[in-house]
């Protein structure tokens, strides 16, 4: 059963965002990791990189395919999940926990309000699966 935690916000490109005070943690959704299959490599930006909402911030590769990662919000990268360098499978095992990708300081907090909530994302995924 696919999980979409209620406390997260989502993008139509299948990233999630978790607010932590003034910061935000970003990763890819359970749906995304399932569609990718075994994740074998994650390319993430350097700490300090300025992200722009909707622009690519990295790449996730599975045995099957290469996918761009899109920034859910604009902001500065505060930390990247170094564990994924040696254990990219964490993205499959725990996409909302140990498989997190980057922590950012959002520069335009109003952008977060443009993201989907869990119910809207679940409906979006359901419509994607039908096509």
């Amino acid at each position: 059963m696919m999980e979409f935690p209620e406390d997260l916000r989502y993008t139509k490109a299948h990233e999630w965002l978790r607010r932590k005070g003034t910061e935000a943690v970003i990763g890819i959704t359970d749906f995304a990791q399932d569609a990718l299959g075994d994740v074998v490599f994650v390319e993430l930006p350097a700490v300090g990189t300025q992200l722009t909402q909707g622009q690519t911030f990295g790449v996730v590769e599975s045995n099957k395919t290469v996918s761009d990662l899109f920034a859910p919000v604009s902001g500065r990268v505060l930390a990247v999940n170094q564990v994924l360098r040696d254990e990219p499978e964490r993205v499959n095992e725990d996409p909302y926990g140990a498989g997190w990708m980057i922590r950012v300081a959002p520069s335009r907090s109003e952008e977060i309000e443009t993201l989907l909530d869990a119910a809207a994302y679940r409906a979006f995924v359901a419509s994607e699966q039908k096509t």
């Binding site: 299959g37 075994d38 074998v40 490599f41 099957k64 290469v66 990219p88």
Partner: protein, 365 residues
Amino acid sequence: MARRTPVYEAHRGLDPRWTEFGGWEMPLSYRSIAEEHRAVREHCGLFDVSHMGEIEIRGPEAGAVCQALTVNDVRRLAVGDGQYTLLCNERGGVLDDLILFRLGVEHYLLVVNAANTASDLAWIRERAAGRAEIRDRSAELALLALQGADAEVALRGLTPLDLTSLRPFGLAEGLVAGLPVVVCRTGYTGEDGFELLVEAAAARELWDALLAAATRRGGLPCGLGARDTLRLEAGLPLHGSDMDASTTPLEAGLAWVVKLAKGEFVGRAALAVQAEAGVERRLVGIQLDEPGIPRHGYALRRDGAVVGSITSGTRSPTLGSFIGLGYVAAGTAAPGTPVEIDIRGRLLPARIVARPFYRRVRREN
């Protein structure tokens, strides 16, 4: 519409990820590729490879037909032997790689790649029609592969056959789980293992018995994802990715298969010329110095100039490193030679390395 193997319903019960390969709907993985890969390296794994084609050649001229169409020396095969060999075209290009088994004095079986079965069959019929009886057995036969160091122990409990004396590439006919099968000591994983040919109608029952035996030994059902990472670590080329009709066996590192001295065969003249002149490019192992996945078609550079390209690659589940196969100019092919891989515009440092990337440690059962 993709074809389904006789074991399809058993796979469905295990709810795998699916992939389409060579026109077949096949399990990609049941759990994760990494877990299945590890199971084969440490214990054993069971694969349904029934998408592979089986072509039977029979009759007094069957041996001569095989000798004329394949590059290895068929005269070396006694009844019960098999050999790795290739079908080449007149230019020496690799049409397919296959295992040729001698089932009887005048009875041979070619196990070929799924995507090439129809074209191999047409190629063989065109050149051998009237000289031997050629039958496509692909739909009637299933092929299951039990691979890994514990494969022999797992299989032993299911059969009275003497597996210990079955040599690599040898075959034995007998009962496994009460079902008539041909057991071959072959595989595509870099481990010891067996491939079992069985009538399609009995395939499901054999799968269930093999899976139960494998599971008792810590084994797992394995999909084509693990099959690909396992063969890559073992440095084994995949036809369609690492070689095709535009590459020769000498370029692909398969000169040891080509027996130029055996007499006439299709492709011999071209291969003899190339053997004399030397190859201009070679298939080599490539190891990255930094993380990144080398993929088919990515350019390989040295001192700024393109010297070749990647044909397949992955993150090695056993080694944790990033590995690939690719063709490079012959002057760049020596192990240790530094190259750069152009990964979507980013140049990553890498080195040519000797194949295989992984070699199994033999252990006593």
